[in-house]
């Protein structure tokens, strides 16, 4: 109920903007639905966009559960993609059934390690992880910039700043013919379920939730709080790293600077829309993907700037925050 309300608020707000821009909201809404789920192609595009959002959404949801404010999913995504490029463009020569799991694990490791630094600083020196993870995003992006303009630049790419494509055995096969939808969606859905099971049924998940809800009580209960936070960081960073690998091996095929148009930041919106629930993340990711794909096609038809998708995403984040708070109030009859 809550995310639906938030979506409605976002749509209303955007209607105002569309009116101001001289368009008709009704027509815009029709175009939006048509562009996001109206045809087989549109639906496949939306689902393709859902994949990285599920991963980054899960990454943020797990971290926020433990009150580890990981805003660095964007950087961790690129770290994963870099690792996969490093290993997957000729260094390893493995059959596909071995190659893909190797790349995913390596990418997850890279993402996890990137978040490890800010986490250790938080644990040891109480350095605020919000700022460090945010700043790391800029550092990692500049690093990737250097890679794709410098040592990793593909000489076959007609001068475009991109790395060499991954080898054939590292490519995630497409799921549907003639669409861009790839097996990443299966991995993403499975990850959602696995993360949910871990959070719900295992000691690990219990400890993560306990540390997030009441750190002090966790200390008294004998939970190794710092260890739990490091573990959470690995899971969170790992999931974000996987997002990068899946985009690289499933969609783009090579490392570029536009591998992610801010999936790490949208992951925060996804996680909040889902109220940090791993299964909810799947639905929320679908919603945010719809927003961006639908708004993209709508804005092209109506000649409105496609930044409207970002506005809608931001408004739905703020709206869901408010509505979550409002649901804490109940009308009591007595």
């Amino acid at each position: 109920m809550v995310p639906v309300g938030a979506g409605v608020v976002a749509l209303l707000f955007c209607s105002v903007l569309i009116l101001w821009a001289g368009g008709s909201p009704v027509e815009a809404f029709e175009l939006f639905i048509k562009g996001s789920v109206g045809s087989k192609f549109a639906l496949s595009e939306t689902l393709t966009r859902t994949i990285p959002l599920i991963f980054t959404g899960l990454a943020v949801a797990v971290a926020f559960r433990a009150k580890l404010w990981n805003i660095g999913a964007e950087g961790q995504l690129y770290a994963g993609a870099c690792m996969a490029t490093w290993l997957g463009t000729g260094m390893l020569d493995l059959p596909g059934w071995l190659m893909i799991p190797t790349l995913f694990s390596a990418g997850a490791l890279a993402g996890g390690l990137l978040l490890l630094g800010p986490t250790l600083l938080k644990n040891w020196l109480a350095v605020d992880e919000v700022v460090t993870t945010l700043l790391l995003n800029f550092i990692v992006l500049l690093f990737v910039n250097w890679l794709v303009f410098g040592p990793w630049k593909d000489p076959m790419a007609m001068g475009w700043p991109q790395a060499a494509p991954v080898v054939d055995s590292a490519v995630l096969p497409p799921l549907l013919a003639k669409t861009r939808l790839h097996w990443g969606i299966v991995i993403a859905l499975a990850s959602g379920v696995i993360v949910w099971c871990v959070m719900r049924f295992t000691t690990w998940g219990y400890e993560i939730r306990a540390v997030g809800n009441n750190r002090q009580a966790s200390v008294f209960a004998g939970i190794p709080v710092n260890g739990v936070i490091i573990r959470t960081a690995f899971i969170s960073g790992g999931l974000a790293g996987i997002a990068g690998v899946s985009e690289l091996c499933g969609l783009k095929g090579y490392l570029t600077l536009d591998l992610s148009p801010g999936f790490g930041y949208s992951g925060i919106v996804v996680a909040m829309l889902a109220a940090l629930h791993p299964l909810g993340v799947i639905l929320a990711a679908l919603f945010v993907a719809m927003l961006s794909i639908g708004a993209d096609s709508m804005s092209r038809s109506l000649n409105i700037s496609n930044y409207i998708a970002d506005v809608a995403t931001a408004v739905s984040l703020l709206a869901v925050l408010v509505s979550m708070m409002l649901t804490r109030y109940r009308i009591k009859w007595r």
């Binding site: 700022v131 700043l135 550092i139 910039n145 970002d310």
Partner: protein
């Protein structure tokens, strides 16, 4: 050796003060918010909104100073939104702040694109000219560094003094600081925690937006999407570095800008040895280092991040 001579150059220090200006505004604004107990992660977006608002105002015929005022007004509006969510509704300051950043960034990009749909090369305005003060500007080094600057830079320096005086010497300023340390005490004095925090966040956000406006109205003459480029986050690191003191915030911003100016000079002189991307990383690396160095000594306002609910103990 040549590097040491650089520090004697007037041009270097003039550039430092110029580059420090948006950071001074941003850090000061964030400092005021945090002193009242509210973390404002909306800073990055609010600076972008200030960039856009000030520039657009001037582009469509307003004059420069009312443009600065307009930017401040837009900043205060976003500050009001942030405080409605975090102060009055008690929502998570982290997530709300990020939401404000996303909203302000996206809105300013959207509005800019809609107002100027066909602009391929960014259109330009006539920005603030450096002042030419007759006597003071002629003092050998100090004149060029301090007085031949944009009037907005002078406004920044004045703001540091004004905020420092306000926080230390006025009853309202002391009440603001107390709100960040012990809101219950403020409440028992008969003052409203909500009002104080709201006003503090609005004022702080206005300062941030003016810092953003400096970028488009004085440092450059055009607006680019993504032009704030992490300066807001750097300001948040600088607030920690400054231990929440306006004077140290000024020092931090100058120090930081000096490093930035230094890396630019080295980049020009020895461009080929190290790729330029690594120079561009420096500001972010310095921010992280500054955070680490100051972390031991940092004295957070006690009530930072804690929402105040009336009547709750």
């Amino acid at each position: 050796m040549e590097l040491l001579y650089l520090f004697l150059e007037t041009g270097f220090w003039a550039a430092t003060v110029r580059m420090a200006t948006p950071l001074i505004f941003g850090t000061l604004g964030e400092l005021v918010c945090e002193r009242a107990g509210v973390l404002n992660l909306g800073i990055e977006g609010i600076m972008a909104a200030g960039c856009m608002a000030g520039w657009t105002w001037v582009y469509f015929g307003g004059d420069l100073w009312t443009g600065i005022l307009f930017a401040a007004f837009i900043g205060a509006t976003f500050g009001l939104l942030h405080s409605l969510f975090t102060v009055h509704l008690g929502l998570s300051q982290h997530v709300t702040g990020l939401g404000i950043t996303m909203l302000a960034t996206a809105l300013s990009a959207f509005i800019f694109r809609m107002l100027l749909p066909s602009a391929t090369t960014p259109p330009k305005i006539i920005p603030f000219a450096p002042l030419d003060i007759p006597l003071l500007g002629d003092i050998p080094v100090v004149g060029a560094v301090l007085f031949n600057q944009s009037p907005v830079t002078h406004l920044a320096l004045f703001a540091v003094i004004a905020v420092a005086w306000f926080l230390r010497r006025t009853p309202a300023g002391l009440a603001l600081c107390m709100t960040g340390e012990n809101p219950m005490a403020v409440e028992s004095q008969g003052l409203s925690v909500f009002t104080i925090r709201t006003l503090a966040v609005m004022f702080g956000s206005a300062l941030m937006a003016v810092g953003g406006a400096f970028l488009t109205m004085s440092a450059f003459d055009a607006f680019y999407i993504g032009m704030v480029n992490g300066r807001g986050w750097i300001c948040i690191a600088l607030v920690v570095f400054s231990s929440w003191r306006p004077g140290k915030a000024l020092l931090g911003a100058i120090l930081f800008a000096a490093f930035d100016a230094l890396q630019m000079r080295i980049q020009q002189q020895a461009a080929m040895i190290v790729p330029y991307q690594f120079y561009l990383m420096m500001p972010y690396v310095f921010s992280i280092i500054a955070l680490i160095v100051m972390s031991r000594r940092s004295a957070y306002p006690k009530a930072l991040l804690v929402p105040f609910r009336k009547g709750e103990r």
